[in-house]
Amino acid sequence: MSSVDFLIQGIIKALELIFSINPYILSITGVSIKVSGTATILSTLTAIPLAFAISFMHFRGKQGLITLVNTGMGLPPVFVGLFVFLMIVPVGPLGFLNIVYTREAMILAQYILITPIITGISLSAIKAVPRSIIETVHTLGGTQQDAVIETLKEARFGIITAVLAGLGRALAEVGAILIVGGNIARTGSVGGIGEGLSETRTLTTAITSETSKGDISTSIALGIILICLVLGVNILANFFQRRE
């Protein structure tokens, strides 16, 4: 069998798995969306106020914070994974949380990874709002709060793009969540494939484990779902960029 035939057969089997709504694949997709979605929501709640504070407020250490955000945008995921792992192990400073190899740990790692990304891109979107818009708010009698609201309206598509970029990064991330989540599935085969239902196994970590076991069709099925999710997020991001 040639490698092309092997690939085509793998894709056909993968599509069968997807369209048969296999519980193993469904649970992995669900965990991916829940973990990445929760991390994105928490990061957004932190990043957007942070970006506005940096843009509108004068405080000591502001330049240092901007440098930290910019550096954070390029953080290596495996380093973040290792850092979070060392924090949450029983002997670590956050060991009392008892979250090693849980979804909460994965959310924490993704939160650390994507908060700088959402902050940095939001900051650029806010800075792109012409100064004259803010001055017009003030000259028309508006307060600083009105200026922030008007800036939010003007930068909204850029900020949505930032959130979607964070979500895309979270969905595609593998290194950090593999370390802190442990890639765990409940024992027991479901539907003839896999190891049961996902506990902390996501699309990305499952692809690594299924590939290493030689289950190429399951890996391709997971890959197709992952690509569709990331593609969907990017199509949305492009839509908002065009609106901007």
């Binding site: 004259s132 017009t136 003030h138 000259t139 009698g141 307060t143 309206k153 003007e154």
Partner: protein
């Protein structure tokens, strides 16, 4: 006419450049006062100081004899920029902005926005997206936005600099109409000498950050006190 704004010994420095020095001036209630001067003379900076966007290094500004809180006096004035910043919204929302931040009743807002758009010759355009307006229409909409809450002081920074003659004429008619129908004091910064001749009551000539002469329009154009004023009015290169 009563004194509205008194500026004393005003100085503004950007870096090492003194952009305004020793400005002493009184602006009267209800007049159209025009600052004229070449680009870089300090006209825009002076308007920005009057609207609290810049803080002078020295000097005082008093409004009706008092030095009030920024937000209070700001809500009694309006600054129209050379290139207006248009909010990404409808014409109605743009014009209504100053009223909404003042918490005015919705029905009153609708009436005032309609009236302001009538004054600037844009009736019935409330629903149009403001960013689809032409340059002249956008400037007139910005004018409506600036006058809709009846400011006591209207600061105009080169309001016709980027406009064609037809729109220049319309803006000048609006300025004269506001002056005639309301008690608004208008402070205009421009380098358009014919425009000053058409609409101003009094004129101040700014050269290199110095207010070299303040005079009535007639005085400036017929008997200027300063030789540099005469040279500037006559279009000679003195800067």
């Amino acid at each position: 006419m009563e004194e509205l704004i008194r500026i004393e010994s005003l100085q503004k420095v950007f870096g090492e450049k003194e952009v305004l020095r020793n400005i002493d001036l009184t602006i009267l209630q209800g007049e159209i006062f025009a600052f004229i001067g070449p680009s870089g003379a300090g006209k825009t900076t002076l308007l920005r100081i009057l609207n609290f966007f810049e803080i002078p290094e020295k000097g005082t500004i008093k409004f009706m004899g008092i030095n009030p809180e920024v937000i209070n006096i700001r809500r009694r004035m309006s600054l129209l920029f050379q290139t207006p910043a248009i909010f990404n919204n409808s014409v109605f929302e743009n014009v209504a902005y100053g009223l909404k931040v003042r918490g005015i009743d919705k029905k009153i807002i609708e009436k005032k926005v309609g009236d302001a758009l009538n004054i600037v010759g844009l009736p019935g355009m409330e629903k149009q997206n403001a960013r689809t307006l032409s340059g002249g229409e956008a400037q007139r909409m910005a004018f409506a936005r600036a006058i809709v809450y009846d400011p006591q002081i209207l600061l105009l920074d080169e309001p016709t600099a980027n406009l064609d003659p037809a729109n220049v004429m319309k803006i000048e008619e609006i300025i004269k109409r506001i002056r005639n129908e309301r008690t608004t004091t208008i402070v205009l910064a421009t380098h358009n000498i014919p425009q000053v001749r058409r609409i101003a009551d009094r004129v101040g000539i700014l050269l290199n950050g110095e207010l070299i002469e303040v005079n009535s329009k007639e005085g400036i154009f017929s008997k200027p006190k300063d030789a540099r004023s005469e040279a500037f009015i006559n279009g000679e290169m003195i800067y």
